[in-house]
Symmetry: C2
Subunit: 133 residues, 2 copies
């Protein structure tokens, strides 16, 4: 069981926040990208491709950090640090759900790409809340 | 000499973008935070404290990634990957300059904290441009 998400992170994730995901490359360098994500209880879930850089990184090393920005205050954020659990999602049910939510339409991609879809689930083992007073 | 910054990154940094900085903790975990930053030619510079987590991380391991979001399109970004060069900035000239730019007022902090101010300079050795077509 992970730690509970702070209320701010829940609220921002239940809107349409654009979290930034950090993984670590084989050479030890941080690697960042913006994702669509949603909340599942106290976990953060997002979709990627198994053969994309962050998918490959997480398969090798599940250490991850997710920064959830406050959509209304650009200097405020919650950083959720933990380990990623990656499960196959052939057909891309999650990316399709997220696309409806963020873009108001389904997500189409080639079948051979869709077969590479995975769901990444992050539970917090450490949380940093940064609010701008 | 680092690689040139893409035009989008220059434009976003010359406005008021809120970049996300990724460093690596001693245990190999990515660590993320939002910073004020500006461009100096093809370098990205920001201020932190030597004894803050990212300052300590960079002193040990200069590998860094800076994600520059498009302020107008939340899913677009440029990721600038490179090594950080950290120099002392006692008195905090850079954080003061950035505070004027982002907040329209100077930056005040206790002297003992101000003595810990450092300037982090990042030149790109790899750049990822992610645009949402």
């Amino acid at each position: 069981m992970g730690k509970p998400l702070p209320d701010q992170a829940k609220q921002w994730l239940d809107g349409t926040s654009f979290p930034i995901v950090g993984t670590v490359d084989p050479d030890g360098r941080p690697q960042l990208s913006i994702v669509w994500a949603k909340r599942d209880g106290d976990a953060i879930v997002f979709s990627t491709l198994a053969n994309r850089r962050k998918g490959r990184n997480l398969a090798r090393d599940p250490k991850i950090s997710v920064l959830v920005p406050n959509p209304d205050e650009p200097y405020e954020y919650v950083e959720v640090r933990g380990s990623a659990v990656v499960t196959p999602d052939p057909g891309g049910s999650l990316i399709d759900e997220l696309s409806w939510r963020y873009n108001g339409r389904g997500f189409r991609e080639a079948d051979e790409k869709s077969q590479q879809r995975v769901i990444v689930r992050v539970e917090a083992d450490h949380v940093v809340v940064y609010l701008d007073d």
